[in-house]
Symmetry: C2
Subunit: 494 residues, 2 copies
């Protein structure tokens, strides 16, 4: 399906117009809007779950959970917007005797945002997902390029948001939903066309490295470069240390197998690499892991494209030198189903062959067996940027290998002490975003209320009359937001 | 002067090592260091002012003021670092009954930062300037590529910082000062070489569009792209409205002439474009402006390169069609001196000929005379990103031309209501940074304590033992910083 250029231009034009409107709304106005969207999404019936189940093969239970998560995102981001924290409002009052002006600054929406839906979260990271919620919260109109893997689901979500826009009497251009591949009559992808469009001021994306990096390059080569928040996944290594392995190899194996195969391994935070030093603890872990993996049932992947990529990449990794299969599911897989598999190799080989550090999207793990902790340290140093790194350790391990852990801090957005990285909580302290190449901008998170901060920029007013200031900066502080006034945080008036 | 590759590699290597050290320091440690640097800079004697005066021709009074400002930057950024506000520490405590983990996040230094000194602020935006202070405050080692226009001044500043590093017993690599042009034996500029170096994780720059954009392109084409904070200047337009002009044309002319020629017009925030609708108010403004400009003495510019650029660009602008000289200094200028000059043109011509919107660095202004407010609105819409925009208006003007002012909000980092944009106060509410092409990243400021935020990224810890958390995130909060704990800002312990 293609779209005529005139339609895309109209969407971009309406978004630019709607931005002029949204700039005048307050944090309270937008929070109210977001709560209304949350309520409407919550109210959609079985139709939504059925469509998503049909289009993504995700189980009903998981989809119901994801729907609740999506509603929670709209609500918690709405509350965060209402609190005004993300506006980072600062007021420095004038001191005429010192010649100091009255200066007030707050974060304002950056402009229309282009959002790309992700395949693996048809609700929470797609049309009505976290990028859309946080962009609108920030005061930015959104153009969603809907994911081709779940167009019916996306259309239901888009209709819901559009209805709320109409009910509020807000301009249509606040939200547009665009499906399709190319710009009609050209070889140009719709996403690439819009990413280069002068009306677009930022991009949110969750998906492959190839997709995210292409958008990043387009965005930086524009006449006016724009920020791109592309979350491109990673291998989320688990570093397991000796004391912990010796103590609890079996429970760690259970936990790891479960995390690696959760949702047929189709999570950005799937722990695809496991690193440990050889020894009795690791041998016990391997036996326990085999016992777990053989009995895990293959399950249908999101779509045929993801399935065939999984099969191809898994084979490619297996075919590397000095790599052997450690264990795989003993249950026969149908066409389209991802069967869990774990390969293993030496640390020396892992360090040498960069292909082994590439993400295989699906239930695929690689166990790296090191001879000693020098090799583990070398892996930590060589590691590329990750969304998460898990340190499976006891306190004594941290004491003994502080240097390795210190280096790991440079390589991830979130460091776990035991536990597994799948399961990304929607809270303020969450960081979902890590150093390149896991993301194009590690300075921001795409999960949690701080996600709103991606779509703003500071604007300062100097000696501006109170009556014409935005509500967030007026003396009265009728919105009751937290502001810094003459270096002190306060919710009071000036 | 060239530098051997081995020296540059050593600087980069030492910076990377020093980052491992700085990562373990607390906000309090770094604040103490910054206060010590402030004290030492304050203590430098006449030697510093003499060197700067000799190298930049800036008057002694201005240099003394800039030195005090530089000391104030180190101190106020130190206090900001100590307060921990920039760390945006967030703690979400675990709720085992809901299966929620303990997650804690704070902003950590991004890694070694490459800083380019600016020509026009030999203290405040150069070797020991705001970029260096804010990067070290954030926990990042700094490599300064010293500006060729004031190497002696920079060397004194570098020596001062180096002495403090030694006194604290911190690694040398925390601060390196690099002078010169090319990498020895190559055509490659030292700045370009370092900008592409894998150890460098961010770049701070103040200077020309050409220089800043080149660094931006290098940074984005690296294997690991890195953020570039390039402040590249702008024309900082003044939009003067009718009620204000009718009321106070003469005082506005005085104020504008003074701001335009301050420091021989060598400020990033120099108001190079003045826009107003024709009428008696504007005619009075023009007469008054002429009376001011003719009597302003030409003065020596920063260096011969800047002088010759000024002469060339000023001539180039004058030679555009439908542009005439309105007024210029009546006092003869010596070689190397910038003589104030103002040209004028119609709004129609200004809209048509993009060359007229280009910055001329020096005491050069262009007065744009519009036939009506539709043309003023069109100029606002066409305007590229600016550091500042000044609205010279009475309240009634804002009421009548709210649409124009609403559009102007998209085009600048700082909006002034009357007053002039030169004079950038070092306060929290300051925004020095605007939409492209005034800056490469409008989401950050290079002046004020928030400048520290350029050089950090969030790092989250999940279920991490309290003993091994960074001091900023420990239960005890011995640093007494403001943190968000379970959605509430507090300075208390957990």
């Amino acid at each position: 399906m293609n779209q005529p250029k005139i339609f895309l231009e109209e969407c971009a034009h309406l978004a630019a117009e709607a931005f002029q409107f949204l700039k005048s709304t307050t944090v309270a106005d937008r929070a109210k809007f977001m709560h209304a969207v949350a309520d409407e999404i919550e109210a959609i019936g079985q139709e939504l779950l059925d469509a998503a189940h049909e289009e993504t093969a995700l189980p009903m239970g998981r989809l119901a959970g994801e729907k609740a998560r999506t509603v929670n995102q709209w609500r918690s981001y709405a509350n965060a917007v209402a609190s005004g924290l993300y506006t980072e409002a600062r007021i420095d009052l004038s001191e005429p005797e010192k010649g100091k002006s009255d200066i007030r600054k707050y974060n304002i929406g950056i402009g229309p945002v282009l959002v790309f839906g992700a395949s693996n979260f048809p609700f929470a990271f797609s049309t009505a997902g976290g990028d859309t919620a946080s962009a609108i919260g920030a005061g930015c109109p959104v153009l969603v390029k809907g994911h081709s893997g779940h167009t019916k689901t996306s259309t239901i979500m888009a209709r819901t948001i559009t209805e709320v826009v109409a009910r509020f009497g807000w301009p249509n251009g606040i939200f547009s939903h665009i499906l399709g591949n190319n710009v009609d009559g050209t070889d140009l992808k719709i996403g690439a066309y819009l990413a280069a469009h002068p009306s677009i001021k930022a991009i949110g994306f969750t998906g492959s490295y190839y997709g995210g990096k292409s958008l990043f390059d387009i965005a930086n080569q524009r006449e006016e470069p724009i920020p791109v928040f592309a979350e491109m996944g990673s291998v989320n290594p688990v570093f397991a240390f000796t004391h912990l392995l010796n103590e609890s190899a079996e429970s760690l194996a259970k936990e790891y197998a479960s995390s690696l195969t959760l949702g047929v391994g189709q999570f950005c935070t799937n722990p695809g690499v496991f690193i440990a030093v050889k020894g009795t603890g690791l041998e016990r872990f391997k036996r326990a892991l085999e016992a777990e993996i053989v009995k895990i049932e293959p399950a249908t992947m999101l779509n045929s494209g993801i399935y065939s990529h999984f099969e191809k990449n898994k084979k490619m990794l297996q075919d590397q030198g000095a790599v052997a299969v450690l264990t795989e599911s003993a249950i026969a897989a149908d066409e389209g189903q991802g069967a869990p598999i774990i390969v293993h190799t030496s640390a020396v080989n892992f360090l040498k062959n960069k292909v082994l550090s590439e993400e295989v999207f699906g239930p695929f793990g690689i166990l790296v067996e090191a001879d000693d902790y020098e090799q583990v340290f070398a892996i930590a140093q060589q590691l590329k940027g990750q969304l998460t790194i898990t340190v499976a350790a006891q306190s004594q391990d941290i004491v003994e290998h502080g240097d390795t852990i210190h280096v790991l801090k440079d390589k991830a957005g979130r460091l776990l002490f035991n536990g597994m990285p799948t399961g990304v909580e929607v809270v303020y302290a969450m960081q979902h975003g890590g150093p390149f190449p896991s993301c194009t901008d590690p300075r921001f998170t795409s999960v949690g209320p701080d996600a709103v901060k991606r779509f703003v920029r500071p604007l300062a007013f100097q000696n501006w009359p109170n009556a014409f200031l935005p509500e967030e900066l007026k003396n009265e502080n009728l919105l009751g937001i937290t502001r810094m006034v003459d270096n002190v945080l306060t919710v009071g008036r000036v």
